[in-house]
């Protein structure tokens, strides 16, 4: 990421993601100042090509932005808005303004698009939809009569049953039985699983960001918390645990970078490997971070949980290690013994 973009992102999120804001967000208070600042900075358009409203930054830079936002536990649907905008743009549709989300996010859910004269009817239920209740529009992947279609669905065209992930981020069930104008549904130019791959890639970047935060907090805590006459970071047991944590953070960073590089083509083997590795890293890191922090890290007052609850949530969203490692493994088994190394190097 350019220093300029990194610095401006850092300043923005530092200013607007203080503990009080995070706490209030979990009680349902929409962080208006944060969202306005993010919209004004153009971050929502970070994944868009310039002709669709983007500002010409690369995918790795956009993923860097996602990491910064995640590191600050920004309680807003920035990732979803960026991702949905990208879906619309890839399908050749105008990107709607405002808060965006996408559906379905769960593997076996299906929304159906049937003809209604010159227009369409969209029906079905999607669960765990990020910020369904707050979205101005949703990018919905549906099964049409001739193949997958991307549908632009406005708020009001679906009913919402609220839900949440472990980090109190809205994960709503949406039920759709709506008319869709012809212009709002286009053939989806990717395989159907591409939406979940794109989501997995984005969550990988977010995991890397939250992981960097737990590493930073754990090191800082170990440097300042004094027991037995010295900072606990002087004890080898703590040092080694934090070294392991740092390794997982490094792995998650690599995964995020791999996912960014593979994002344009949505290369399944690379994104799958990245999300799987990031999920595993999140699991190890969250546990070690809490262990290093002792009891204080277990309180609501202390800020560690904003990061660890996100790690525990995001590792399970858009596919767990089981799903994605199975994809990588099937690719490996299909490549065979002699084809395994070429498959790994072809992935980049």
């Amino acid at each position: 990421m350019t220093d300029q973009l990194a610095d401006s992102a850092e300043r923005l999120f530092t200013a607007h993601c203080g503990k009080e804001i995070l706490h209030a967000a979990e009680d349902g208070t929409w962080p208006l100042a944060l969202w306005d600042a993010v919209e004004e900075a153009g971050f929502c358009a970070a994944l868009l090509p310039e002709e669709a409203g983007g500002f010409g930054i690369s995918v790795p830079e956009a993923f860097g932005l996602l990491r910064v936002a995640a590191r600050h536990a920004a309680p807003i649907p920035l990732a979803e808005t960026m991702l949905s905008g990208w879906l619309f743009a890839r399908a050749g549709m105008a990107v709607p303004a405002g808060i965006l989300t996408l559906a379905p996010v769960r593997r076996n859910e299906r929304l159906t698009l049937t003809r209604a004269g010159a227009d369409w009817r969209l029906s079905g239920t999607a669960t765990r939809v990020p910020w369904g209740r707050k979205a101005d529009a949703a990018a919905v992947l549906a099964a049409g009569p001739d193949g997958p279609m991307l549908v632009k669905l406005a708020q009001g065209a679906f009913t919402v049953t609220p839900g949440a992930n472990l980090a109190a981020e809205p994960r709503d069930t949406i039920t759709i039985d709506a008319e869709v104008a012809a212009a709002d549904a286009v053939p989806w130019p990717f395989p159907a699983e591409a939406l979940r791959l794109a989501g997995a890639a984005v969550r990988t970047a977010q995991i890397a960001g939250a992981l960097a935060r737990v590493l930073e907090m754990s090191v800082q805590y170990a440097q300042t918390r004094v027991q037995f006459g010295r900072p606990i970071g002087k004890f080898q047991a703590i040092q080694h645990n934090l070294a392991i944590l740092a390794g997982q953070s490094a792995a998650a960073l690599a995964a995020s970078d791999m996912a960014a590089d593979a994002f344009g083509e949505l290369t399944p083997m690379i994104i799958a490997a990245a999300k799987a590795r990031a999920g595993e890293a999140a699991s190890i890191a969250a546990g070690l971070a809490h262990q290093a922090h002792g009891a204080i890290g277990f309180t609501q007052e202390y800020e560690l949980h904003y990061a660890t609850r996100r790690l525990w949530s995001w590792r399970d969203e858009f596919g767990t290690e089981a799903e994605w490692n199975a994809l990588v493994g099937r690719a490996a088994l299909a490549a065979g013994g002699d084809g395994l190394w070429p498959a790994i190097t072809a992935a980049g």
């Binding site: 440097q223 070294a243 740092a246 953070s249 490094a250 590795r277 089981a322």
Partner: protein
């Protein structure tokens, strides 16, 4: 704490991919008879004839200055050759240490005479180096080394014992780390130096090399007993008293390469082959996980290679790569045994049974050699600002 960062590795180019294809074609021919059991020993396999062939292809000393016979190529190109060799289980052991660290050490600290005499021979694949560092009473604690070189008329008189010296029985040269001066009170790293030791000369003049057989029955390690060996004055490598500084400079090179996560790759290959495309979901998940780890490690490792190429000193990143890599290497056989119902047997005809046996009995060394895990984690902790 400064945020961890790994610069993006330079992307593959036509040059690197052409090179990759050349290396693969070379290996397909040269290793066509190499069994999985032999491939499993990876860079432990020593084959002077193979090293000479590699030398003729220009794949040793790739990044070294052309004036010494090197090829002036990039670190990323070298990385391509290394990872292809390791993934295929090529017997690169004869020239390995020389190419990886002894040569760079000579380039950095050697005299012009040392460079001109020795580097071209390494590049040709005709020269084997060993490292005289560990001693019976000093392994991880290198600064506690007691082998002593005493300044005398005509040079240095060396006495002491080195241990775990891989390949000393076959090496042409040893780079010897020893005390040349009493340690200072304030700095236990002071007073050590490196020497370039001609092994043929040494073995005829006071050095005895005795095999140490490992638990698998292999001879890699040696005990080297040095008694009143007189080294000429020009055997000093670099500056007297700079031994510690010179040694630590090598470590980032040593710690981050693909050999730090590919040691068990042959086992993964044979397992994939044995299970086949009809393998169970459980097998796919387990093997996919190992593959995902290798892919992310490769990304990290290439990133470090790029940082080294750019002249940085990514000591923290290199230690992280080695630590992560060794965990993966040691895990592989443990994962495989729960996927395939076999009982490992060393030297069996069945490749998977034999390779599994080899890996299980070699695995303990992965987190001991080249920087023991506990030391590496201490280095990482220091890099994080905890020490």
């Amino acid at each position: 704490m400064q945020a961890l960062s790994f610069a993006a590795p330079p992307p593959p180019s036509e040059a690197t991919e052409t090179l990759r294809a050349e290396v693969r074609a070379f290996l397909a021919t040269e290793l066509s008879d190499r069994t999985p059991q032999e491939r499993a020993s990876s860079w432990g396999g020593r084959d002077p004839a193979f090293s000479r062939k590699m030398g003729r292809r220009g794949w040793i000393g790739m990044t070294w200055p052309k004036q010494y016979g090197g090829h002036g190529r990039s670190a990323l190109e070298r990385y391509v050759v290394l990872e292809e060799m390791l993934a295929a289980g090529a017997p690169v052991g004869f020239h390995w240490v020389a190419d990886r660290q002894s040569g760079p050490n000579l380039i950095k600290y050697g005299t012009e005479e040392q460079r001109r005499t020795i580097l071209p021979r390494i590049v040709a694949g005709e020269c084997c180096f060993c490292i005289g560092m560990s001693e019976p009473d000093s392994g991880s604690d290198l600064a506690a080394a007691r082998t002593r070189a005493q300044p005398v008329q005509g040079g240095w008189l060396v006495n002491g014992t080195k241990v775990w010296t891989s390949g000393a029985h076959k090496a042409d040269y040893m780079i010897l780390f020893c005390r040349t001066d009493a340690k200072s009170e304030d700095d236990r790293h002071a007073g050590a130096s490196q020497f370039l030791v001609d092994m043929e000369y040494a073995k005829a003049n006071g050095m005895k090399v005795r095999p140490i057989i490992d638990m698998r029955g292999d001879h890699h390690f040696n005990e080297v007993v040095i008694e009143d060996l007189l080294l000429p004055a020009d055997a000093v490598l670099g500056k007297v008293g700079d031994g510690w500084k010179q040694v630590t400079g090598e470590l980032a090179f040593e710690r981050s390469g693909p050999e730090r996560f590919l040691s068990a790759f042959t086992l993964l290959v044979e397992t994939v082959r044995a299970i086949g495309p009809e393998g169970s979901e459980r097998a796919a998940i387990a093997l996919g996980r190992l593959t995902s780890h290798i892919m992310t490690l490769r990304r990290l490792s290439r990133s470090v290679a790029g940082m080294l190429q750019a002249g940085e000193d990514p000591a923290l990143q290199a230690a992280l790569v080695k630590d992560l890599g060794n965990v993966l290497e040691q895990e592989t056989a443990e994962v495989v045994r729960l996927l395939v119902d076999l009982e490992p047997e060393d030297g069996a005809d069945d490749p998977l049974i034999a390779v599994q046996a080899y890996l299980i009995m070699s695995a303990p060394s992965f987190s001991l050699r080249g920087g023991t895990r506990e030391i590496l984690r201490g280095i990482i902790a220091r890099g994080l600002g905890l020490r």
